[in-house]
Symmetry: C2
């Protein structure tokens, strides 16, 4: 399996990571969400003339450390330098090869009514950290990106699930809301979330209030959401909680047959609201 | 085998191709030069906000056509949009997977004294076409880039060579001079070129004269140079000439034991001059 992503994040360095570790985790996680074990990566840089060499060195060191921690090898790469003003400092594109895990049958279209919706950890940390660092809002002093590899967590879930893990998705750009809408559309099912069950860190909630953002739309780089056969949900949840990156795993809702393609949330007061995905223009401001 | 390259060419459209076909041919050819059959590609775009949608469509159509003609599949991709001024229109990164051809034992270090140096076709067409189109010099009306896939030519050579094809290289950025210097250094051998044997189209020679460039330093995207066992050289040459992209294949020199790492050229008047590679700053102006 092959997966590619470009990384154009501003700022390039932020609490919890940098463009280099993000580029490794992003592609490793895309492979992991396909039920694959990542094996090798390629690393392509587009560098703006004048980028301090030291920055390039720091990013490259970070790539190497992240790859080592993920147990993948960077086997080839490319570097192109463009004139001053022709790029914004540094763009990184990683492409990964992975091998399908035995027993993995995950696909966006595999969700079924009755499935438990499991989330591996708190949402909003990456997006708010980037936004706050970029704009100097101050939240970044007590927050860090959740950027981290998820392939071991995914493998543990697939093993524990015994074919019961139907879908896996990392809610990156567009946040949890967009990921769930995509899965709902692809599977032709509805999703019902339970508002109090969705783990939103206090500082994320505060920042979102201030900025007029919905935490469900904020990007994540270190959590995943899964639709899991209800008969296997407890076993999968236990396997998730046994790993550090899944320590806070929790059930946040249920897949339903009603309203196919739509995600709703049962609020604290018992009403239902529709959770839309972020599209086009709206995505632009989001990291 | 995995190979990746970023493409940042200006202008994006030029006689003989565009950034899309170039991105396909570039990665297909890098795999071909490793003795591999290209199988699948990933395609990552970084798009500057405001790029006319029609341009993106034309490039994508061109990618699809080039991939079809190469018999490779674009299996995944990515698109990132950055703000106005944060990129120069469009950057394309392709990554390719290939499978080693049975019988291929090519490596930059495999050249041996006595090997024939074979070139598949005329040099300088891509670089001069790009430069002339970019600067509006007029040569582009009678020239076109040589951008084209070389994997079938490489396969035919490897089959005909029966292990006698020691090195393969497409002399892209830095031109024939840089490719030969790299091969000479990697193999610990010298290279002696025969000046009148090197095929330089008249318009390329004229443009180089005008611009003060050495045609040996100008980029190519559709020819290859090989070091081949002298006992197999005629058979390999015949196999090259049997293919359209090798119709003008010719022997341009010999690998020697003297001056390891150095490339020299026997000129028309019988003297020898050293052919240096293009490095660092010098490369910047070259397409
Ligand atoms: N960002 C990177 N990460 C890892 N390896 C890299 C990176 N950039 C370049 N390399 C390696 O360095 C070598 C030179 O790569 P580079 O892209 O600069 O030149 P090239 O591929 O020979 O030329 P061109 O890209 O113009 O075709 C290659 O072996 C490549 O794999
Ligand atoms: N340039 C492209 N060529 C081929 N397929 C593409 C290209 N760009 C995007 N795609 C495909 O379109 C889909 C959406 O890709 P896109 O990169 O826009 O979003 P994403 O990968 O879901 O999000 P993110 O890149 O933020 O993680 C994917 O299936 C991807 O393979
Ligand atoms: Mg992605
Ligand atoms: Mg992803
Ligand atoms: Mg390269
Ligand atoms: Mg290359
Ligand atoms: Mg090349
Ligand atoms: Mg993507």
């Amino acid at each position: 399996m092959l997966s590619t992503d470009g990384f154009v994040v501003t700022p390039r360095f932020f609490p919890g990571g940098d463009i280099g570790s993000l580029a490794v985790h992003g592609t490793v996680n895309d492979l992991a969400m396909m039920g694959a074990v990542p094996v090798a990566l390629s690393l392509a840089y587009i560098v703006e003339e004048g980028l301090p060499l030291d920055e390039l060195r720091r990013v490259t060191t970070s790539v190497a450390e992240a790859a080592r921690a993920c147990d993948v090898r960077v086997v080839t790469g490319d570097t192109k330098v463009v004139g001053k003003g022709a790029a914004d400092g540094l763009f990184v594109t990683t492409t990964g090869i992975g091998v399908r895990l035995p027993g993995a049958h995950v696909a966006a279209a595999n969700g079924r009514p009755g499935d438990a919706v499991l989330l591996s950890g708190p949402i909003g940390l990456h997006g708010i950290t980037i936004l706050s660092t970029r704009e100097g809002l101050g939240f970044e002093s007590s927050l860090a990106s959740d950027s981290r590899p998820l392939h071991r967590l995914a493998a543990a879930m697939i093993t524990a699930g015994a074919c019961g893990v139907h879908t896996l998705r990392d809610p990156t750009r567009g946040g949890l809301a967009s990921a769930l809408n995509e899965l709902a559309a692809a599977s032709g099912v509805g999703v019902e979330l339970d508002e109090p069950a969705v783990p939103i860190p206090a500082q994320v909630a505060a920042a979102c209030d201030l900025l007029g953002l919905d935490p469900l739309h904020v990007a994540n780089e270190g959590c995943l959401v899964a639709f899991v056969d209800p008969a296997r949900a407890e076993a999968v949840l236990a396997a998730m909680r046994a790993r550090p990156e899944g320590a806070c795993a929790t059930r946040i809702g249920t897949v339903v047959a009603g309203h196919p393609g739509r995600v709703t949330m049962r609020t604290l007061v018992g009403s239902h609201r529709v959770i839309d995905m972020l599209v086009g223009e709206q995505l632009a401001g989001h990291p």
